[in-house]
Symmetry: C2
Subunit: 231 residues, 2 copies
């Protein structure tokens, strides 16, 4: 074997050694300095490779204790969270949407508490139905904090989806996201054109800009939706 060149080749070589069981799960591997000497490169280069593998869950690193092959690898999967239009167009389908509601009202308590707002605070309530090739694809139910919208909502909602207008207008710094399955509620079923009780893939997102809550949104995907990624 010729010595690996560059941090990506070093990463690949480390994975090979783990796969070949030269380094078994739980075993300690050589230090950065030792590997750098073996590969004839700087320690920083080895560090880069091992750091990526640790971020991926393949290795566990602790100062002084050294670097080990993860015994029970908590593998990390990276998901892309695209804007709906791009998700639909990425499948080669035509994207369209219809705004069902845009009103300013007091949300249900679970929503206001999730955003950390007073129970009587009013929010924008935006409901949108997204289509792929004319078929209902996604039913979006969004609550939006008007405090983060100095200029209010745009006049012409027909031109861009709220979704895209938001991400261009309100940057968020932190958010959380949860995926689950739910039987279609009456409104889900009506909008998506499925029987009540059909199993739907649900995404719920909450985002903040600094300390200020921005939006809480529930996305109900039409049956057949799959969120896919590589490990």
């Amino acid at each position: 074997m010729s010595a690996p060149q560059g941090w990506e080749e070093i990463r690949a070589e480390v994975l090979r050694r783990i796969d070949r069981r030269d380094w078994a799960p739980g075993a300690i591997i050589p230090t950065e300095a030792e590997l750098a000497a073996e590969f004839g490169c700087a320690r920083a280069t080895v560090n880069r490779a091992l750091r990526e593998l640790a971020a991926q869950g393949v290795l566990e690193r602790r100062r002084k204790a050294g670097t080990r092959v993860a015994t029970l690898p908590v593998r990390k999967a990276t998901l892309d969270i695209p804007v709906t239009r791009l998700e639909v167009e990425g499948r080669g389908q035509h994207y369209d949407f219809r705004l069902l509601e845009a009103s300013e009202t007091v949300p249900p308590v679970p929503v206001s508490s999730r955003l950390g707002l007073a129970p009587d605070a009013t929010l924008w309530h935006l409901r949108t139905l997204h289509f792929a090739d004319g078929q209902p694809f996604l039913y979006e139910d969004r609550w939006l904090n008007p405090a983060v919208l100095p200029d209010g909502l745009p006049e012409d909602m027909a031109e861009v989806s709220i979704n895209e207008w938001l991400v261009k207008t309100v940057a968020y710094t932190y958010g959380d996201i949860a995926f689950s399955a739910a039987n279609a509620r009456a409104d889900d079923a009506a909008h998506l054109g499925v029987e009540p009780g059909a199993a739907l893939f649900i995404t719920e997102r909450t985002t903040w800009a600094g300390e200020a809550p921005v939006t809480a949104v529930r996305l109900a995907y039409a049956p057949g939706y799959r969120l896919h990624t590589v490990l």
Copy 2:
């Protein structure tokens, strides 16, 4: 503002400037060299901060073209894919499991084709029910390529779950994973103790070790399961 120290503070400062719209979506930001001069640090430190933000989808970087704030941020979410036992114990619940089936048989065609095997190849078929505090938590239906098991399956299946035995024994190099929702099939319902048709969160994983297919598994979670992460 005092100059940020270290790449994490630089990353935070960049996010602040994006949040404050000093740097708007789509706008180009200063070069690494300029930022390094402003912050009084080495270019490599700025590079580290901006590289992390680009990996997260906040920035878009291209040589010569410079670094821009992402217009339609395809945000990246990182999911942890732990072993089931750790997932249950991480909730403070007691973990247990029961092996329902361990046989060597010819799988349905969708399974063999997904693994790239001949339709008449035999595989191990392992079905396991996982419990959290004694309640059914996850129904696992796994097909396993015997070719990757030089010594066959372990004698005593009661001591460790197949899940953990596998990850310790068979390192995989590539895999893909998909999440979806499905109405409970008859077997799902029977094992998980729910009504047929209940909405279940489904995870399907396929893994390879080099060119050799390792395993294809379908995980059906009991209702209420949520996959959660931060953005």
